[in-house]
Symmetry: C2
Subunit: 138 residues, 2 copies
């Protein structure tokens, strides 16, 4: 299955998710770990589509999500910065998910500068992340 950029943008507008988790992690200086991820979840019958996304982006993994669902997931900060973010900068999302992407991008750019390793950085990221994924259908 060969994907093109237009199709991927439309599919991610429908099915994609940009998410930033912030977990307590006492061993880290700031006391928290920032965990960004880009995911696309599909029924297992469409796992082939997820492998095609993985192949297109050249990163990430396809794993069982729960029940009969599979997920394509990119968690590596390096891969998010080098593969995922440039794609959606070039090919703009058309739904309000674009706003989530922009916040996701801001957080990744802070992480690139290591700002998430300070308490102030974690607070700034928490503030941005708290405005993401509101009013979702799911």
């Amino acid at each position: 299955m060969i994907l093109d950029a237009g199709w991927i943008t439309g599919f991610v507008d429908g099915e994609g998710c940009f998410f930033v988790g912030i977990n307590s992690h006492p061993e880290m200086t700031a006391g928290y770990q920032v965990l960004p991820e880009f995911t696309v979840v599909q029924h297992e019958r469409d796992v082939q589509t997820l492998y095609a996304l993985k192949n297109y982006f050249g990163c990430g993994v396809v794993r069982k999500n729960h029940e009969n669902r599979m997920a394509y997931r990119v968690r590596s900060v390096k891969h998010l910065l080098e593969n995922i973010i440039p794609f959606f900068e070039k090919h703009q999302l058309k739904t309000k998910k674009r706003v989530d992407f922009q916040k996701f991008r801001r957080i990744l750019l802070l992480m690139e500068k290591q700002i998430h390793l300070t308490s102030e950085g974690v607070e700034e990221i928490r503030r941005i992340a708290g405005q993401m994924n509101r009013g979702s259908l799911r």
Copy 2:
């Protein structure tokens, strides 16, 4: 918002639905009414995307679905045959929703020949429709 065919195909692979309802209708010769529809449902925050689809296809309506969701819906057999089906014949869906589309198309071609007005036609359509929209995520 200007949409392109690639984006629409990806978005419908994620969010679109091809559905054929068969309702009892004693006044019709075959006793049943066949009601095909193409729908795309979104959270109300993305109603603009639905209007952009309506504008692109030049048919259908945008209506409240339920709660905070809106739907773009095409129910006219003429518009399905002339606008929607030719688009997805030209721009193939990539997920298993393509199989639903193919069955939907078969039913619409039967309806074009008025076959749904006979009891045998309704039974044939019921058989095809019964194989659609299985294993959906929702």
